[in-house]
Symmetry: C2
Subunit: 276 residues, 2 copies
């Protein structure tokens, strides 16, 4: 692991770290915020949306003040493998390939060799961090935005014993049927849509996955609300399954970091209460 | 004026606006945050540092939460005229020309036609905004970072009746003698250094300018501390002049927005108390 930068902020330390990742077969860069103190700190994982790297939420998400106060560490991974030599390097295509890993383990060529983001964020990166930094593996939470809200919900529903809490900003709740994610799931996971269900929150709940409670904020002025996001599909599935979903529709808010930062404090406090 | 974007954030409205500016002879873009409510709102001017546009502090400064709570508007102007046709267009030179207006009214060719940033931020842009938005011209404050901290101090010292309060993050307090600003002052204002004193906080105080009280935060780990910034020169001048300077040296903090955002709340509360 190579520390690319370290900046004191709100009494804690904002790190940017690069390491050679096995799951993705390339160098990966992530952001780690350590609050003041000695630790071990509970960890909140933040998964970012399409086109983002670790840097977007680090710069615009406004999480450090509250994380420092609450004494929680925040990890912000990248959203895909990176590099011109890696499949999916097409900066003009924001819905597929680099910046659009969708937190799946790809099974299809040419993506299977590198697009193992589910394993990266749930296994490789946690193991690395818990070995190197004063973090408490028994106290983990996960949240994210848009594609990363999808990722957070999938991680929590598939690992309810690992994450004590889960929330999302404007998540893609049913990527199997959303226009902007169907193509990616097909190219990563193949034409057999039954394989997609392991990476679809609504389908996971239909298939029996459970998580005690979820918090979702969704802007009513979000241009992707009706086509890509559709939080009512999650609400219906949670109601049917008896999952305690708090879905807050926020009037006037869009899909941007101006929205995310406005409710970042609420989400971090939600997680900190459940992390103990 | 053309509104380029409007995003709801923390209950208020973050606007980005472009207009044809007379002082700079080109289109200028600035950020305006309006807190919730009807106004008229007191106004805090934030002047940015070298290489920045309006966008850097808008994205990384973390001012909206507190500004919304306090009911103050925040205006973030650009740092220079812009355009390939305008003198000083050299992206490789970060100390001179575009992104480096130093908040002076240039008198020298080829800069005099466009580099009138002092007039732009103290006259043209305020007049425009007070005519168009629910802002209270009787309640103005000014602050900024680095080159913009210099700008804020100069604006306040030269207009003590207009601004009710002034603060700065890591300001360039004596640009006439700092390596990274001497060249710019020479090119904008000419070889006669007496003309530079109207844009040099320490010189202004030596020459009799006064402001009741000032707040300055300075990171002790700031790589520019000893060569470019040297806040002790301001402390000496203020002590001599009887100006009430609160200079806080912040251990471990550098020159970045990670530093600015950490103390943004303190500065906004300082201004709000004095704006009434």
């Amino acid at each position: 692991m190579e520390v690319l930068s370290s900046n004191k902020s709100f009494g804690g330390e904002q790190l940017v770290i690069r390491h050679a990742a096995k799951a993705t077969g390339c160098d990966m860069t992530f952001a780690l915020f350590l609050p003041p103190g000695e630790g071990p700190f509970p960890v909140v994982w933040y998964l970012s949306g399409l086109t983002c790297s670790h840097a977007n939420v680090m710069e615009k998400g406004e999480y450090r003040r509250v994380a420092a106060e609450l004494g929680v560490a925040v990890v912000c991974p990248d959203t895909s493998p990176r590099g011109e030599a890696i499949a999916g390097f097409d900066p003009s295509d924001w819905q597929m390939g680099q910046g659009a890993g969708f937190y799946v383990d790809a099974t299809q060529e040419p993506f299977a060799a590198n697009y193992q983001m589910y394993s990266y964020v749930t296994a490789e990166l946690p193991q690395l961090l818990f070995a190197e930094y004063p973090l408490d593996a028994q106290r983990q939470a996960v949240f994210g935005h848009s594609m990363g809200g999808h990722g957070a919900l999938v991680c929590a529903l598939r690992n309810p014993d690992r994450y004590r809490s889960c929330s999302a900003f404007a998540p893609i709740v049913q990527p199997s049927t959303a226009d902007w994610s169907k193509r990616a799931l097909g190219e990563y996971l193949g034409a057999d849509e039954s394989a997609w269900r392991a990476y679809d929150s609504v389908a996971l709940i239909e298939d029996g996955a459970r998580f005690p409670e979820l918090l979702v904020d969704q802007g009513e002025a979000d241009g992707f609300l009706n086509d890509g996001l559709r939080p009512w599909l999650l609400a219906d599935a949670c109601k049917e399954a008896g999952i305690d979903l708090t879905l807050r529709m926020q009037p006037g808010y869009d899909h941007s970091y101006f929205f995310i930062s406005s409710f970042m404090e609420d989400h971090l406090r939600w997680h900190a209460e459940r992390l103990g």
